[in-house]
């Protein structure tokens, strides 16, 4: 990851990084580092420089460094960002403040506990439940391009949790299922091969599900993959409402919840 000499200069940029070392003390603190300013670096490059050259104790998550794995989410100057997609030149010469993702417990330095999110993915059954189980020998499940289009946007989620860090409802009510989990539930609900909308409804058409959402919309603003979880949630509200009226006005109809 060493930059070529043509992009290095004598310029430096400062990072103020949130540190939390539970074995050393109860309170977190900020540590200031000066790294070279390289105009094609992202904040992740700066963090890697710190860890490799200055302070090996700095702890953080990262992987693909190209915006597809969802590992490197952190707060950069108060905004939830993938640090591999946040360019240092957009902040330079101001100091860059790096903190762990909002609204999650901090395990150490910039690493947060994401168990809550992972539990919610299980709760909403974020996987395909086919209408009919077919053995491979019977061939593929067929789907038209129009059927694919209906859920494709929601399938782009990389589980980076930036949306949870942007959502003030999640910040105040950690039992809120949250934007990504609901968007992923909708991804499967709207998949023509899937048949578990009714089952997922128990999780998402509940008080802790879509009905906690007050459509702040910040989740969709920060999503790096344009999943638009806010849109997914509003569509789910419409579906849940149609389903509710159907069950109240036509209670003898045994149809399961349909995703319209």
């Amino acid at each position: 990851m060493a930059a070529s000499d043509s992009t290095r200069s004598d310029k430096m940029v400062a990072l103020e990084v949130f540190r939390y070392r539970p074995e050393e003390g109860e309170e977190p603190f900020f540590q200031r580092y000066e790294v070279p300013y390289v105009d094609d670096w992202v904040v992740l490059d700066a963090l890697n420089h710190i860890k490799n050259e200055i302070d090996g104790t700095l702890t953080y998550r990262w992987s693909c460094r190209m915006g597809v794995c969802g590992s490197c989410g952190m707060m950069v100057n108060g905004d939830p960002k993938l640090t591999c997609a946040a360019f240092v030149r957009d902040y330079y010469p101001a100091t860059i403040r790096v903190e762990p993702l909002n609204y999650f417990p901090v395990i150490r330095d910039l690493v947060i506990n994401m168990d809550d999110f992972l539990d919610k993915l299980t709760e909403v059954k974020a996987w395909l439940v086919p209408k009919e189980e077919k053995p491979v020998s019977e061939g593929e499940y067929l789907q038209t391009p129009a059927e694919l289009a209906k859920y494709k946007q929601f399938s782009m989620c990389i589980n980076c949790m930036l949306c949870y860090s942007a959502c003030p409802v999640y910040g105040q009510h950690p039992d809120f299922i949250g934007p990504a989990a609901i968007a992923l539930a909708q991804r499967y609900n709207m998949d023509s091969r899937d048949d578990a909308t009714d089952e997922r409804g128990e999780a998402i058409f509940s008080h802790e599900g879509i009905w906690e959402c007050t459509f702040v919309g910040e989740c969709s603003q920060v999503c790096p993959k344009n999943v638009d979880p806010a849109g997914a949630i509003q569509q789910a509200k419409v579906t849940a409402t149609k389903d509710w009226y159907r069950s109240v006005l036509v209670p003898w109809g045994k149809k399961k919840a349909k995703t319209t």
Binding site: E23, G78, V106, A146, A149, Q172, F215, V216, G217, Q235
Partner: protein, 129 residues
Amino acid sequence: MTTEGTKSKEYIRPMPSNWWLKRRSYFLFMVRELTCVFVGGYALFLLVLASRLGDAVGFVALLKNPLVVVLQLIALPMVLYHTVTWLNLTPKVLVVWRGETRVSPILIAGVHYLAWLAVSVVVLWIVLM
């Protein structure tokens, strides 16, 4: 570390009660939500007007009251903000597919804006004619 079987203490950052002042988008959200107070207030005002349908003098007196006029002039921009934010969000709720593509959100919102203008003109025309 893991062999010891003890979990280190996690740090929970408290959410401040003035969280909505910390970010421009949160603040605009709160303004949008608080327009409901003006919506509810004007609805109650209409209720008072309705209660005076049998009393022409009291009805006109209420409408001519300067304080009542001023309160409505304060409510008007708030209600307009409700209208604009509401119409702008219609594409998120009204999703229309034509084959593999979604009807443009701008078109969806645009149709709603035109309907709003049309309805307003019709109401004005009915009252003033």
